[in-house]
Subunit: 414 residues, 2 copies
């Protein structure tokens, strides 16, 4: 069973928003063993929508369309869907009552603006996918045995409808095709060197098992995919790769590095803290985005100003005066300072010139010092990134996690 | 002149990465008045790539393809491109020398693994788009007067090639078609109420000017698009909308709310600080992601643990004991504490139950208190979000910015 995802809206094509919906939908479909074979983003014009619906129906069994169902006038989607299926729009009383009720419950209480009445219009004969968390209902329509799901583009409304309306329907239709995935998350080794290291294992894989390399900044994710039963199980190869890659392995499943750190530290009852200058809170917010992070994280200090580095973290004035804020000595004092303040077992500190301003001939934009203080020792590294601000921050965070992981593994082996 | 963007790679279809490349490319093309009319994500299979190239060439003049050019075996792209254009792959000496050189300059110095030699292969007759920042070169090929750009998928390599190789070529081809955009960023007013408020202006727009509503959590972006000359300029309507929307307007151009805050505070020589519990550093990292943020931001405290709230921010033990960490009193003391610590003019404080754990009958998941301390007064609000962790954090951040903006505008008018 194949699926295709269509997102409607100029804002994606203009690059004004990033399409995070499709990735999320792709994940959900994958869990049902439904293969997404294309994601298409189009303009909210009648022609583009009609063509995309037609093309998708030639390739896929399930077509999931998001966007173009808001209350304002830039939406032509419903009219186009109505024409595509040859059925008129009709006002759904139950949906209208729900929309009115949503506005009534606002504080302060408001009367439904007339512009929102049309939100209750649906294509005649569709199965209404009732939207408990917003005003735009979803719709399920069928044509030539292909299922078309139409959903609003607002992420949490879309997620609600996929979870509570679409998945239960698809679960029944679910094919019995065999698809299994296994993952390995690695840090501290580049894609090419990783490939050389596991070359013989990769070459020994049966035809039914494929290995993919999914590199991101500072890490590589490996994905094994099995598409048919094989004499040797996917778990055998998964285990072989994990053993070969040793301490580079952060996780044996598809989770983020942050999630892996939170899980490992929770299991080992360890606490992490962060003192951030150039990363400005990205490490703290990355770690605390993980559910359960409060078990391992008590405190993060974003110390942009030198006075804060001294006053809160205990960095010495002499250090800042003699070697400056972007220096090995400063990040060591920052890491040790926040570790003490937070009563933590491990602490990360970052200080650098993220750019575009602030560079000097001695310390150009992209110069970054990272320190990680552990239970027994403090390690430091100097980096020379030469990219833009956001990439410099991203690389600093990725390398900080990699350094933290290495020190954690090393000290654990003691 | 129309463009189409094709991204190759199972990882997008499986939802394992979000396609941020296409949004960025769409922005760059838009600045050249080149309209992106479709973004297509496909699997790295020969059939999918061939079909997508063919379909795109029927719709667009410019086809930009990213992904599928890495060093490892999951990439069939180059072979498929070679077949599509009916030209063999040839090894490019200049590219090979560059790739070898990149590995030589690594510290520790490394010899180029054999697997990377194929990175220097390009389709015969293509224009090589030389990649200074990575091992995979880009290629420009032409067929039936359509231009095909092939670029690696690693974001910063893709960005380098678009900026330094693709844009200079496209600039020459640029059509003279008239397309202009104007934007307004609003906070604190929902899409429907906003639409009612400006209904008469919207209805007075000439056919050549379109208004789009682009809602995000806690904000709505308005976009005026003019596609042909009109007797009244787009700036006239832009100004009318700005005047009508008054203090809801955070910016009159297409920037993030964070950027608007950094610009306004820089201009008015104001400093901002943040004391974050449930947002865990998201406000600090959002503000410091903006270039020049160091002019307005000195200090952010992520105080997950009550001891940190007391020790660093000066929250009273009595407050925490009697009303708890998620309370109006606590966020007031957090905001005033960090404002004093940072010597700031404005300070944001957040405390809440982001979930999924930690909820109680009195304070269920989604209960969030926000305080904003200003020059003259401190304002607070209680929210009851009932979504998942990441959405609760996102909504808290958006509402904190909206509260900050309102207080800033109010105090400025004094």
């Amino acid at each position: 069973m194949n699926a295709e995802i269509i997102t409607i809206g100029d804002e994606i094509l203009l690059g004004q928003i990033v399409d995070t919906n499709s990735a999320w939908i792709g994940q959900q479909l994958n869990l049902l063993n439904i293969r997404t074979q294309q994601i298409t983003s189009i303009s909210d014009s009648e022609q583009a929508i009609t063509e995309a619906l037609h093309a998708a129906s030639l390739r896929a069994d399930i077509i999931i369309v998001t966007g173009g169902l808001g209350p304002t006038k830039d939406d032509v989607t419903k009219q186009t869907i109505s024409t595509f299926f040859g059925k008129p729009l009709v006002r759904d009383d139950k949906v209208l009552a729900h929309v009115k009720n949503l506005f009534n419950n606002l504080a302060p209480r408001r009367v439904l603006p007339e512009i929102n009445y049309a939100q209750a219009d649906v294509v005649e004969g569709c199965q209404v996918l009732f939207n408990d968390v917003g005003t735009a209902p979803g719709m399920l329509l069928t044509k030539n045995e292909k299922m078309f799901f139409f959903l609003p583009g607002v992420p949490f409304e879309m997620k609600f409808l996929i979870t509570h309306r679409v998945i239960p329907i698809l679960r029944e239709q679910r094919s019995d095709q065999h698809i299994e995935h296994r993952h390995i998350i690695t840090v501290g080794i580049g894609e090419s060197f990783l490939a050389e290291k596991i070359k013989d294992i990769e070459e020994s894989l049966p035809d039914s098992i494929k290995l993919a390399y999914l590199p991101k900044v500072g890490m590589v994710r490996l994905r094994l995919t099995q598409t048919a039963p094989s004499p040797v199980t996917i778990d055998f190869y998964h285990q072989q790769l994990i053993e070969r890659l040793g301490t580079h392995v952060v996780a044996d499943k598809d989770i983020s590095v942050e999630q892996a750190i939170v899980e490992a530290f929770t299991k080992d009852k360890l606490k992490l803290a962060a003192a951030e200058s150039c990363t400005g809170g990205r490490i703290a917010s990355g770690i605390t985005a993980i559910a359960g992070a409060s078990a391992i994280f008590d405190c993060g200090i974003v110390a942009y100003h030198n006075r804060i580095k001294m006053q809160v973290l205990g960095v010495k004035a002499e250090t800042l005066d003699t070697v400056g804020a972007v220096s090995e000595e400063t990040v060591i004092e920052m890491a040790q300072g926040v570790k003490k303040l937070a009563h933590a077992d491990y602490a990360i500190a970052t200080s650098g010139i993220a750019g575009p301003g602030g560079g000097t001939p001695d310390k150009p934009v992209g110069t970054v010092w990272i320190a990680v203080a552990g239970k027994y020792e403090t390690v430091t590294r100097l980096f020379h990134f030469r990219n833009d601000r956001s990439i410099n921050i991203e690389r600093t965070v990725a390398n900080a996690y990699s350094m933290l992981w290495n020190l954690y593994v090393k000290e654990k082996e003691k």
